[in-house]
């Protein structure tokens, strides 16, 4: 008979030894670095080309993301339909994404079809022609999407809080507008394409069950291109944070919920406090059992969910608290958030609660190491942010070793309401 009164014995997750499977590094003939993880049971592969082509490098708003989007919309040989049909015929998914510093093309495919797909990817990154009719449709689609999104309090709040933190002229603070979409011209995008893709800086991340000749396939398709010849221009952007810290915005006069964002600047992910502060963040609002969730959702029922997290960019980081709450309880929610900050500053967390958070965090990492795509994802973050190859081990050690006193110290260093921007959009 099971004794239900007593919890079964557990092995503390922090007693596990965690290893991030090392990558194999291949240098193609033209100097492109390829990071490869060969693992997994399924015959699938993920290939990602990362270019220094994010909005950090654009002169006019939206040029980087529009160029990235148009990579699939026409070369001198194939129109948009041909391109889509080719990838879809082989059951593969080719996605493109534009971020602040980088822009990517990523392919998910069955391993057996990879050789049919790489030559077309090569075509896209060397011979995209950015046809005006395609750009016209893009503008039309994006403007309508934007119009719908601007009705959503969470979407509006996400834009505004970034603007307050970084300034509307900074890549992290600026956002889309109908005017910016209308201003996009094919010539402008073609120039950006030529500088940041055709002659750009590229690295490749590949994972899954790799074909034996992966090196040869990559070299044939990407090793002879004029990539990585010129260094990306050194561009600096000045952060212009808002002077005013508190905002209340009415976006929809009939709105029944408010989107709350509370955020402050935080030293970047290479700062010595970073990992230990991640533990503090988890305790504060980073998991289901967090202080914010326990109080504001599970005790008060003000919201369906409240979360805090680090919003990491290469040149700056923000600590963000985010929730949607009933309009009549938004102010009460904010009061409780600050109250939880105060408790973390004033009271030392118990060893027991801290151990729970550590076990949860390590358990999550452990569960996240099971597939090749997750492993390469962690390496990509480490490599692109130049965090050092021992970063994973250092992080695990920091999580395991952080003490209640250190947690309190960090709370006293960073969790002060007056440092935070505060916004409600109804």
């Amino acid at each position: 008979m099971a004794n239900r009164q007593v919890a079964p014995q557990i092995k503390d997750a922090i007693d596990y030894i965690l290893e991030l499977k090392p990558f194999r590094k291949i240098i193609l003939d033209n100097g492109i670095a390829v990071y490869a993880i060969d693992a997994g049971a399924e015959e699938v592969v993920q290939l990602e080309l990362v270019f220094n082509a994010g909005n950090w490098y654009e002169h006019e708003n939206m040029v980087a993301s529009a160029t990235n989007y148009m990579l699939k919309n026409g070369t001198s040989q194939k129109n948009a339909f041909d391109i889509n049909e080719h990838f879809e015929y082989y059951g593969s998914y080719l996605n493109r994404n534009c971020y602040n510093e980088t822009a990517t093309l990523s392919l998910h495919s069955l391993t057996k079809h990879l050789h049919e797909l790489l030559p077309v990817i090569q075509e896209l990154i060397t011979d995209s022609i950015i046809p005006e009719p395609e750009l016209h449709i893009y503008r039309q689609i994006m403007k309508q999407k934007l119009e719908v999104n601007l009705k959503k309090c969470d979407f509006v709040a996400n834009r505004l809080i970034d603007e307050y933190l970084f300034g509307i002229r900074h890549p992290y603070g600026k956002y889309s507008s109908a005017i910016a979409y209308d201003a996009l011209q094919p010539e402008q995008l073609r120039r950006f394409f030529d500088q940041y893709y055709v002659n750009g800086q590229c690295s490749i991340f590949v994972a899954g069950k790799l074909p034996n000749n992966i090196e040869q396939q990559l070299n044939e398709n990407f090793g002879k291109l004029p990539l990585n010849k010129m260094r990306s221009p050194q561009i600096t952007h000045i952060i212009e944070a808002a002077a005013e810290k508190k905002y209340r915005i009415i976006n929809d006069k009939d709105g029944i919920q408010g989107a709350i964002r509370i955020a402050s600047h935080f030293p970047g992910n290479n700062h010595p406090d970073f990992i230990k502060t991640q533990v503090l963040n988890t305790l504060f609002g980073g998991y289901f059992g967090s202080r914010l969730m326990s109080n504001i959702r599970e005790d008060k029922g003000y919201t369906y969910g409240i979360h805090s997290y680090m919003q990491n960019h290469m040149h700056a980081t923000a600590w963000m608290i985010s929730t949607e709450a009933g309009s009549e309880v938004c102010e009460a929610t904010i009061t409780e958030v600050y109250k939880e900050m105060r408790v973390l500053r004033d009271e030392t967390v118990t060893e027991e609660e801290l151990l729970l958070v550590k076990n949860y965090l390590i358990g999550t990492v452990l569960g996240d190491l099971d597939g090749p795509f997750h492993i390469i994802g962690r390496w990509k973050n480490i490599i692109l942010n130049a965090l050092g190859e021992d970063y994973f081990n250092r992080s695990v050690n920091d999580i395991k070793s952080v003490t209640p006193a250190e947690i309190q110290e960090l709370a006293n260093k960073y969790l002060h309401p007056e440092k935070f921007y505060e916004l409600v959009v109804v």
């Binding site: 239900r4 059951g91 009705k151 289901f288 959702r297 029922g301």
Partner: protein, 412 residues
């Protein structure tokens, strides 16, 4: 090929084990054969509210989450119109913690008025966040009411109205538990770094003594065949006009399910699909368009929805959609086009099966449907679909008498 073993405990609990020793983790998945379709029409949203309450403490354990997190685990749950599923993942060495937690809440819940009151509020906020305070958030509320007259798919999982959730009492909740949350109505799937023998021993130990309960016999009102087209016009505070049209399709276990699934892929499964190419790219009538179904167990709906390019008339948009449907009714799809959507399905299955959590969920779902080995048989069922079958089905499904059309007008 995904290997599994299965057995049934004396009390009727079905157990499935999937060993995968390439991971240090284990997944424990408990699926209950109850969803929003099993609710009383005057108390909708109950299955989902109940899912929230399952985390409010059980007879011997005051909190579900804490011990699990302490054991390095994480968990979540979801409710659909068909079923309710709870899953957690934790280091395999701590798997007994999951058995202890899951069996205790199957044994008996123990939460009070306070927990019920808080979760009523939480679910109300969820309702507002996803369905009331979002542009187009009420579409499925309206569409379900239009398309279903009898079957309980006529309301959404979250509930038909906020008041049903706000009025839920502790007594209602207890009755719901004893009717549905019994071993005989549940499936336990354990996957990962475990052995079948170990799972058998743990299942006996923790679940074996839970009273079986009565098998819930489902007698849902059936939806009569629709014989005339239905239409609805909505005016709402949204910036862009939208078009929605639904047709009744087949239950999940009908062999024609696979034909209709491929049909939705042909119509809108990517940048080279028919509706996108013709109506977004060439004719520029829609700024977005999609064709999909929910994969529901009872007969579901196939939906085409799109947002209209400003200036386009709703009637013209509808005619353009109909013209595309006419093409696929008139001529069989070409072999290459069919090959494409089958290849996509093949890789989609391969990608889904990468995750241990997905495998555990699928094994539970197919067991609920009555054949666990469907996890290995699905791909072949797609492979054998022919162009003729697709053409036949489009002529049956896209019959105007079977259609439900919604014109959703914005205010600009």
């Amino acid at each position: 090929m995904i290997q599994f073993e299965q057995f049934v405990l004396q009390n009727g609990l079905k157990v499935v084990v999937h060993e995968d020793h390439s991971t240090p983790m284990a997944v424990v998945n408990v699926m209950y054969d109850v969803g929003a379709r099993d609710e009383n029409p005057a108390q909708t949203g109950f299955a989902h509210l109940f899912e929230h309450l399952m985390f409010g403490g059980s007879v011997n354990i005051p909190s579900y989450d804490e011990p699990l997190q302490r054991a390095g685990g994480e968990n979540n749950a979801y409710t659909t119109n068909d079923l309710t599923n709870y899953y957690c993942q934790l280091p395999a060495e701590n798997i007994e913690t999951a058995f202890w937690l899951e069996s205790d809440r199957m044994l008996s819940l123990d939460f009070g008025e306070k927990s019920l009151e808080v979760q009523r509020k939480v679910v109300s906020e969820e309702f507002k966040e996803h369905y009331l305070n979002k542009p187009y958030g009420d579409v499925w509320h309206k569409m379900r009411t239009l398309a279903y007259k009898n079957h309980p798919y006529r309301w959404m999982t979250i509930g038909a109205e906020l008041s049903h959730i706000e009025n839920a009492t502790l007594e209602d909740v207890k009755q719901f538990f004893s009717k549905h949350y019994r071993p005989v109505n549940a499936i336990l799937t354990v996957a990962g770094h475990v052995t079948a023998a170990q799972v058998q021993q743990l299942a006996e130990k923790w679940f074996g003594d839970i009273p079986s309960g009565e098998r819930y016999m489902r007698h849902l009102p059936q939806e009569p065949l629709q014989t005339t087209p239905r239409k609805l016009e909505v005016h709402a505070n949204v910036p862009v006009d939208a078009f929605y049209k639904c047709w009744h399709i087949y239950p999940r276990m009908d062999s024609r399910y696979y034909t209709t699934d491929l049909l939705t892929e042909i119509l809108s499964g990517g940048g080279s699909s028919r509706l996108f190419q013709s109506l977004v790219k060439e004719k520029q009538i829609f700024s977005s368009i999609g064709c999909y179904h929910f994969g529901s167990i009872d007969a579901g709906l196939l939906t085409i929805e799109g947002k209209l390019v400003r200036g386009v008339k709703m009637e013209d948009a509808e005619l353009a959609v109909e013209a595309e449907l006419q093409k696929i009714k008139n001529a069989p799809v070409e072999e290459k086009e069919l090959r494409k959507v089958k290849n996509k399905t093949e890789s989609l299955i391969a990608f889904e099966d990468m995750s241990l959590m997905n495998r555990a969920g699928s094994l539970s779902f197919y067991t609920l449907l009555g054949n666990t080995n469907m996890i290995n048989e699905e791909l072949n069922k797609y492979q054998v679909v022919t162009p003729t079958e697709i053409q036949q089905e489009t002529n049956i499904i896209f019959d105007p008498a079977n259609s439900n059309t919604m014109y959703y007008f914005g205010n600009r």
